[in-house]
Symmetry: C2
Subunit: 341 residues, 2 copies
């Protein structure tokens, strides 16, 4: 079968007996044609299966009709980390109605990520980008500002250069610590993500504040790269130390799952001797035994709102920081009262 020909507005114009301009007005809902003519043109366009050429549109109005997302995490972390796929699902649903496309790029390091932005900008491939995993003094913000590429920050507020979509982790941190404290836990540790991520630091500050308020001595913190392997190693170290914690909180679910198998290895009972809490809830947490108590936040919602905010920003609207519903604690089988000393 010979491939279909793609109709252009010129074809429609010919079929309707009007000029290209009239067709353009009709198809874009702009004044300049009578309602009769508009209806006729719309009908013809639909019958011909017309779609606007994204290239032509991009060329004439300077909009590409696409947004970009660069994910700069090593492949082995990405594979298993549910966060990104859920985020992407959410972004898609925020984009779906508008017909905007999503460009995805997975990079090896921060330099490659910056190069990707430069390329997308130079090639006019995207109208804006979503920024995840903000770092301290993140050079990407300056770069994007220099390029004039609109961006929305996902995951934490108060960035002067760009609007953001965020959740207040503080309340959830407080909730988790209060819950553990109420069950008698006093020695609580945290296995965190990389220290250079802003959200890691901020969550750390939340932990310190809440611990102080609750009269806890503090929360020991170990940094990792989010991988199960490092999560397991950190857990072994914590559980082998002199003052073994009675509860550990993990910055992602993958590490919490890894920790669970470490406890089995070491013959430590969960939740009898040790309570575990995962930050970020995914099917993974319900899959393992005992199921993991988790801090649940709607990651797709993150994506959806961020996409919508970016579209508004690209459209020239002033976009404020958007705060989403804070994460909630979902208690499951991995937490229980602290063991008697």
């Amino acid at each position: 079968m010979s491939p279909l020909k793609r109709p252009t507005i010129a074809d429609i114009a010919a079929a309707a007996g009007v000029s290209k301009g009239a067709v353009s007005y009709a198809l874009n809902g702009k004044p300049g044609v009578s309602e009769q003519t508009r209806a006729r043109i719309l009908e013809i366009a639909a019958r011909m299966g017309w779609h606007p050429s994204s290239a032509a549109r991009a060329l004439s109005d300077g909009r590409s009709g696409a947004i970009g997302l660069v994910v700069d995490r090593p492949a082995w972390v990405l594979g298993i980390e549910p966060f990104f796929m859920q985020l992407i699902s959410g972004v898609e649903s925020g984009l779906a109605a508008t017909g905007t496309a999503l460009l995805l790029q997975v990079t090896e390091d921060a330099d490659a990520e910056e190069a990707a932005y430069r390329r997308w900008w130079g090639e006019r491939r995207v109208d804006g980008v979503l920024l995840v995993d903000l770092r301290e003094d993140d050079p990407r913000l300056a770069l994007l500002a220099e390029l004039g590429l609109p961006a929305v920050v996902v995951g934490h507020a108060g960035v002067p250069e760009a609007p953001s979509v965020w959740m207040n982790d503080g309340a959830a941190v407080r909730e988790v610590l209060a819950y553990l404290a109420a069950m008698g836990h006093r020695r609580i540790a945290r296995v965190a993500g990389p220290a250079h991520f802003v959200h890691t630091r901020e969550r750390g500050e939340d932990f310190a504040r809440s611990a102080h308020e609750l009269g806890l001595s503090g929360v020991d913190c170990v940094h990792t790269d989010y991988s199960g392997e490092e999560g397991a190693r950190a857990t072994r170290r914590l559980l082998s130390g002199a003052a073994r914690p009675t509860a550990v909180i993990y910055d992602n679910d993958v590490m919490a799952v890894a920790a669970l198998s470490v406890t089995q290895e070491m013959g430590i009972s969960v939740p009898g001797e040790l309570s575990l809490v995962a930050w970020d809830d995914s099917e993974l947490c319900r899959l393992v035994h005992p199921s993991l108590t988790a801090v649940s936040r709607s990651v797709p919602e993150y994506g959806r709102r961020a996409a919508a905010a970016l579209l508004a920003l690209v459209g020239g609207e002033a976009v404020p920081d958007i705060q989403l519903e804070p994460p909630v604690l979902v208690p499951r089988g991995s937490t229980a009262p602290a063991p008697r000393p």
Copy 2:
């Protein structure tokens, strides 16, 4: 800071004192300019930080410089399934050198997936697509052929409409069954993916054939949607039946992990009373305790080769089916000799 201006070939032409055409020849490595002039133009372009406008290029030569991937799996499966992110990582690395972009779309159902292809084709957004999860009599093949949109099938060979990148599962199936049989397993079951996927059926045929060759009575098969939940349910059913299997093979790692927690729930020892094998190896398999024996295949390699094949196809080359190294069995802690009857 005011946004940078994006240089065009006209700017370069003006700076070099030549015409736009000459600049185009120079930048594309075509004859028509002297080596001196070419070098000068290249130098100016580099200094100005020029990138070709993807829109302009797409408009004039009909190529968008992008390929598309539609993933039609429910969001909750996607989140945790490592396969797709690994595939995407691989695709990126196959694309990286060429400057081709990747468009990703996550859809709710098959209709939305077809609509996505129609849109991409109509808008000339992609030069070709990667096709995963082929179904029996897959309507997508006819659609893409009708549209004339080049496609490469990932995951199984012998499709008349499009070249494919695949691995021979048969050898691995044989290896797994022989391994289990050698350890005395006779009642072996399989928890498979959806029956409508071609690769599910083909693997089933491989199981039947190998079972027969090895003198096994056959392999019981239960179909699921790949989710941990259904994997767990299927496992409970299998383990509650009269002739309980001594070994179960899962079509993905997520279900195998879910199964492991079912065995804990039910007090069945792994691998003492039951052996488990996961198809597809990811960090997940190493994370749990006992670690899961798995059939490992290089998913990123899949993506890389598929991307390369698609680029060749788009470039007008004749692309044959490409067979990759077959998957290999990686024995870990979840398999052991069958229990004495």
